[in-house]
Subunit: 407 residues, 4 copies
């Protein structure tokens, strides 16, 4: 298994770099908004993660290139030490991209040495390495969304031709079908066994456990994501001007930030354009509507006479025999649920500093389920719980509707 | 029943005024923080509520004293019209207190006329009146907490002798006992029948319904509230300096606002004082710790090796045969739960503009259960869902611990 | 002279109270903006001034009513101690208005005792009393402007019938005449002798001295203030939409705060109304335009092809033989100059804590000259230097134009 | 003369690039604070200046590479059009550095073509070119200070070895000597003739004119700049803890931003280090103290029992026979004066959009005189008026003391 992990390590780490293929050096440095870190920071931080949690404790010969890296690339681990302020990540021209690539190489060499070393293949190293790789994969998605955020605010609307992940709908939109579910006692969450993270494939985060039972009322869930065309109908029906459709906090946001369309839409010469990684494009009405905040998803669902699913509804519908009728659960857009991100009953954060990974964010955010076109292969699963603030719009987030069944 | 409502109306409205008994005219006008409205605003707004939802639609002869009142005293009803900004309520010296008391009298006279009129005792008027009275009772609690917030920030620490609601513990603190519950399928929420709000006593808010089933894991819940002495032990153990005990958002708040004790505590000459409505007092260690934010309650519970209960745990434990062992569920302090405030499955907001009452606040807030010393008699019930932001500290909010039972 | 001061003291102190004649208790408490203090704070602070600088040092038997007053009513004297934050003055319901009136009485009794005592009529006491009275007069003007600010933001537009200081123009506006001056060496500033503040009548502030020479280029200055009608012409010519007319900081302010008219103007049903102490009134085009910021005065002057006078031009034109042709130098509106507020050559702040009175504000503000309808009688003089931030609009501030004379 | 300008053009433009010699691509992109623009922005904006004011109006064949450049690289010319927000200049990864260098080349080729063209050597082109070159030189200084600001906040304290402009004192500090001046009528400002900007050497900005007379009281001015050692004595005497030494706005800044030393000083292991372009260095006590705000310079002068000179004092002392005794007037550090930046009597901004160059900033800023080690050769002169906000600390700004002479 050590060897297998060895090659997974190579593969995952290489993928982060390949995502940056078309970037100019300048693109690596920009932080267009406090929540969207510079690509070079992602490359450094993911290396810091292996260094901090594995190399420094387990490889006695290892030396950090510069002490300051421990501070500069710590994201939020208070148990490790102080952090360079998140909103200021775009204020660091040094280390340069080249120096960060060197840093990656140094970390990779040491990690591979460690993973190959017969006596160091202990459970803890393996488990932390597996965690580090899934951590890296999460940052791979953020690399894409943060690059898009950078290029997307730029009036030049640059195209990133190397990144062809955003695909148009292949067919006209058919009517949404709602699939019925009886509810009752269902089981969700990740296997106990996967908590111990023995292999890359079986891994799950601590926040996905324990597997547990939830009682659901009868409900129905949409067989597909909502489309740009459907969202346009909401807008044309005054969606952004009607407070009765919005949560109170949402409406404040609409007014203050003057929202009148999804993040990447621009009205130009009589038509809606959408910025995509390949540049400004006329809006494709058949494609699923993307980059919505929870606030927008919720208002749109209310306008539809529907609602967002709970995370338990989402997961159990996809664990059911009808799951094959539920299109685009994975690989297209994350799907907002109406579940606030909190702990499952019996939740235990991991021991040690990695215990800060998920648990401490359990307030104020909403759960998204599924995965998106920016999610790396092998990273998605049924029990996966993504979470963002209800006003966040720069992720690949969309809407799958649900409804109560009146008894 | 009309007559009964008539006298309940008189009683409830009179109670609002009696809460202001010891106030100086100046005390009525102050807004010490955006969330704590001036007492005179509460007196006006609760009158506006009856006027707007009952008198103007149902009593053709009724005239609002000044058109501007419709704007000045609308809290957040977008369906009704624009609102004077909430944070600026303390910037209005006019109408004066005397003018607002006149306004109350005019509204009361008209309401009593309407309630006595034989042909106007329709269901809708009765239901809206019942709602208006419960609304008034909610503002009675806010009157107390907002007055305390005003006097409590004043360096003179004025005493409000007329308001003797805060009582010391009568006995030394005994050890907390945790009461065990099996979990399984439990039923929570308010009766269908009460949704139609036919009587003042049977009333419940729309957010308490539908009654529904929830599946719980085995858990145990504390038989009493946590005390000042216990909270002091947390502080003395570095509670406010240890980020590992806090949610990420909570820790940001601790650092930014330099929290180092509950809201009304002051360290003076070697001892902790607590501001209470009767003035500065040495901290009573046996009394339940009050005016905690959710963030503090959560950190304290974590330090205790425990957690906060979910709202379903709280409610079903109090619906059980063991409920008589659960002390101070009502009448002392609201109890933070770890449940984010959201809709129950099948939730339907009321029709019309009063539909904005509860539903639109279902993001970002946490549920509190029980009631406090500031809650008017007859206003509390098992299904009641109070909600505030996790950083709010000016309510009478405390901690009841819960724990998982390891199987 | 002691007796004379005694009676001036009574008179000045009484005038502060008479300015509050028509106020409701509520009006005394409101702080509509950080810069506009509650009337009761002015009444307390002016008493604190006598107490702090005279009674506590010179009258051994004197006791402050409450220690906290020393903190609550200190405006900005770091040499005296900490200050309750200026922006939070409206958050104090206590002490009540009645308690502050008692405080005034206690201070007055002690001051009169001291001023009558034969051995305590030393120069220092006299000088500080004279200063305290001029200080009180400054707050008399602020009382008026801060009350107007409070009532003026209130949608009820309350009228303060007792305060009839704002008068309409008595005659149609004639064309502005510009009076020519040769410039050359002129002398401005207050007499040395007045620096020692021996009498109330001869007093001047430290910032008005030393009297000194200034060299002026030839210039001309307008014989009257600019009118509402003239300002309306500026507005109708796109004044608030043309950045080329504005200083850079001014334009930022116009955009951010959406200025489109002077502070108290409202467009309603096809005409401009102006809020005045007697309530909303149709704009009187012949009256001088009031409540302009420096930024607006400067932009308007530029649009006129003119400029604002320097303070030396203003003063020396009024010290000249042509001064009788210069109308409304005093008693109508303060006149913005284009002089930044700074020290005169050889300026010495007063010794002791009162040295903080004027000198430490010598950055960022602009000088205004003359006096206004809110300035108490006997407070104005040719050398008087008033100063406010260039964006301040709530003072009685207007425009007198000046121009260069091309040689 | 056209040929001479031609070669000055080449030289000045080349110098901007040479200042960037040691930069990594990343260094070109960073905006460490809203007021410190990315180097690549400076390179683009200075090209935009020539393009906008000369090429587009006078060279019909010229085409802007991308329309968006007109918006992205407009600094503050409202007369030209909208501007990309200043604080967001660091959010643009595109155009890349290479693209901006191409842009420079295109502009240079066109400019040289124009300057060589016989019929296009009109006065206006020459004058605007001269202005553009002085504009470029101003940005050369900003390039250095903004690069230093970027590298200086970086915890890695990178050294820019190519930039050796900051030199240590060559000798121990001798006692300051104050040179006496009689005052009286003096003449300052730039020659009328230079207003027409006919040659690069004789150029002056519009704000330096007209030459005019000023009347000065007798004064004395220090023969050298104040040193780090002298400033340290101020700090050791509690300089940053004593509000009586500071202007009110200054003290607010000290408290809010927790100033306790000049911008680039760090206390580390028992000694003060100063960040310089060559990296962290132990503080050289003999060198002039640099990177002070006006607020600090003013407080330090007050502590010294002195003051800052007025700009007229500064200029006329250097126009006098004693000027050779005044060391480091140029080439070391800009010297704060106590003069607020305003217009000279008779000031006329240039006609057209370049009229926004200087005049519209005449509020809120203070004048600095002399020049610094970052000022390009040939850019300094006696009448030069630099201006920054009183809290700005990232420029090469220091202190030369002055004093009144008591008569």
């Amino acid at each position: 298994m050590g060897e297998q992990l060895h090659s997974v390590y190579r593969e995952v780490r290489a993928h982060s770099l390949s995502l940056c293929d078309g970037l100019s050096t300048e693109d690596y440095c920009i932080q267009p908004a406090p929540e969207a870190s510079p690509p070079k920071w992602h490359l450094a931080h993911t290396s810091w993660f292996f260094e901090t949690f594995i190399l420094l404790p387990f490889l006695p010969s290892y030396r950090r290139p510069l002490e300051a890296y421990g501070y500069l690339f710590n994201s939020y681990y208070e148990g490790i030490g102080k952090q360079w302020p998140r909103a200021d990540r775009g204020k660091l021209s040094r280390p340069t991209v080249a120096e960060i690539l060197e840093y990656r190489e140094q970390v990779d060499a040491a990690m591979l040495e460690l993973l190959e070393s017969p006596d160091a293949r202990g459970d803890e190293i393996v488990q932390l390495t597996v965690l580090g790789l899934h951590h890296e994969q999460q940052h791979q998605e953020l690399l894409v969304t943060d690059i898009k955020r950078n290029l997307g605010v730029n009036p030049l609307s640059p195209a990133l031709e190397s990144c062809a992940i955003e695909q148009d709908a292949e067919a006209p939109t058919d009517a949404i079908e709602f699939l019925e579910f009886d509810g009752g006692l269902v089981t969700i969450g990740a296997d106990e066994s996967s908590v111990s993270r023995p292999t890359f494939q079986e891994f799950s985060f601590d926040n996905e456990s324990p597997r547990h039972q939830v009682y659901l009322q009868p409900y129905e869930i949409a067989n597909r994501l909502c489309s740009n065309g459907e969202y346009l109908a909401f807008m044309n029906d005054g969606g952004y001007e009607r407070p009765e459709l919005w949560l109170a906090e949402a409406w404040d946001r609409v007014v203050q930030e003057q929202w009148n369309a999804p993040l990447y839409w621009t009205w130009a010469e009589g038509e809606w354009l959408e910025y995509r990684l390949l540049g400004q494009r006329p809006l494709c009405k058949e494609s699923p509507v993307a980059h919505l905040s929870y606030f927008e998803a919720d208002a749109f669902a209310r306008w539809q006479g529907a609602r967002l699913p709970t995370e338990a509804e989402w997961e159990s519908s996809l664990r059911s025999a009808k799951s094959q009728e539920i299109r685009d659960a994975f690989g297209r857009l994350w799907q907002w649920t109406c579940s606030a991100y909190g702990c499952y009953p019996g939740f235990q954060p991991w021991a040690g500093a990695v215990g800060e990974y998920n648990g401490k964010f359990m307030s104020g955010q909403m759960v998204l389920r599924g995965s998106s076109c920016a999610t790396p292969k092998g990273h998605a699963r049924l029990s996966y719980r993504n979470f963002f603030y209800p006003w966040d719009r720069w992720q690949y987030s969309g809407v799958r509707l649900a409804r109560n069944i009146e008894e």
